[in-house]
């Protein structure tokens, strides 16, 4: 890859990192996700800065086509992140439902406070 392409990727990565830092500073992104994306950004920046790094890692892993290493890592990571988000979405959904149900029960009209059928010996309850 040309030096220009590497500089372009490096620049893009740095802008993305700044964007993530800005989201954290505005309390829009919890730090656990910031950590995730910052580490990913750091790895990409590292690969862009040292062009030979990906080739060396690839040959160490026995992968002939160096970009393949990158795509393998990226797809694996993104897959895991999406699965994690599915899990987290399901959990949020369950919690939201429970809150809605509890809200409905708390706001609901009380049961009628009167005997449904006057049975012999039943004590009338004064309100």
């Amino acid at each position: 890859m040309s030096v220009g392409a590497h500089l372009f990727i490096l620049g893009l990565t740095l802008v993305s990192l700044l964007f993530i830092v800005r989201m954290v500073r505005r309390n829009q992104l919890p730090s656990r996700y910031a950590m995730l994306w910052l580490s990913i950004g750091a790895v990409i920046a590292l690969l862009a800065t040292f062009p030979g790094l990906l080739d060396r890692v690839s040959s160490a892993l026995g992968i002939a086509y160096a970009p393949g290493t990158f795509f393998l890592g990226a797809i694996t990571l993104l897959f895991l992140i999406v699965v994690h988000f599915s899990w987290e979405l399901s959990r949020l959904d369950a919690r939201t439902r429970l809150l809605a149900e509890e809200l409905a029960v708390l706001r609901a009209d009380p049961p009628p406070d009167r005997p449904r059928i006057p049975t012999p010996g039943a004590q009338p309850v004064e309100p």
């Binding site: 439902r97 809605a100 409905a104 609901a108 049961p111 009628p112 005997p115 449904r116 059928i117 049975t119």
Partner: protein
């Protein structure tokens, strides 16, 4: 049915009739009047599942308590809301009843009688007594899909149920506690999966023959294409529970020896 005790010593209702209702303004008033006439000893709760019409107002006009959900949760969520209300207010039993008029209030005592005989979950079955109640026609496609689900339930629970998708049910106090904590909330989950969960947790499940009417008003909750998806989803969901069941069976066997 003579030993059905609908009220406690003070004359208060032990039983809550839960009506999950989504935009049932048109049918609800008639259903509530009928319930009050046929089952005056029972308390009723309408769970308004995010209706955009006057469902809640129609219920309040009949003097019936309403629990209004802030947004639509589906039958499962509305039912679980009813279960939580029943547990919070100390009811011993609950009935699930349709707000659209397809259930007959005069058959409620039959369900309660089965509870008093020791059942935890009583299902009002449209098909339990073919010679009497066979008039209810669900159509060929839907009937076939229901058959597949019935087979899956038979394999997983080791029992045969004639009507796994009936929404006319009665629940004992222990089952109310169980369902109040967790209840399947997707379409068909509220019927088939809930039934299977009760079986797996060791609750006594029985069927009682009932007859159902054609809907008084309102629209069926789901149309054909979505129905196919939901039957498939329910099947996958049921089958994914299978290993758990096997583990429980092994544990039970271990406990016995």
């Amino acid at each position: 049915m003579a030993d059905v005790v609908p009220v406690d010593a003070r004359g208060y209702s032990r039983t809550l009739v839960i009506l999950p209702a989504l935009n049932e303004e048109a049918a609800l008033t008639g259903v509530l009047k009928e319930l009050a006439r046929d089952c005056p000893e029972l308390d009723v709760l309408v769970v308004d599942d995010g209706s955009t019409d006057g469902t809640a107002a129609a219920a309040r006009a009949e003097g019936v308590p309403v629990a209004v959900l802030p947004f639509n949760l589906g039958v499962g969520g509305a039912l679980q809301t009813g279960f939580r209300y029943a547990v919070a207010h100390g009811y011993d039993r609950a009935i699930q009843f349709d707000a659209d008029g397809q259930h007959d209030p005069s058959q409620v005592p039959a369900l309660l009688a089965a509870l008093d005989e020791g059942a935890d979950l009583v299902i009002g079955s449209r098909f339990a007594a073919p010679e009497e109640g066979s008039e209810y026609d669900v159509g060929r496609v839907r009937g076939g899909a229901m058959g597949v689900l019935r087979l899956a339930v038979r394999v997983l629970s080791g029992r045969t149920f004639s009507d796994t998708s009936s929404g006319f049910r009665a629940f004992s106090a222990p089952l109310l506690d169980f369902y109040a904590a967790s209840y399947p909330n997707e379409y068909l989950g509220d019927t088939v999966e809930a039934l299977l969960l009760a079986c797996q947790a060791g609750f006594t499940v029985v069927e009682v023959p009932v007859t159902m009417r054609v809907r008084a008003a309102g629209t069926p909750s789901t149309q054909n294409l979505r129905l196919a998806y939901h039957y498939l989803r329910a099947l996958v969901s049921l089958l994914s529970r299978a290993p758990i069941r096997r583990r429980e069976r092994a544990m039970r066997a271990a406990n016995r020896s």
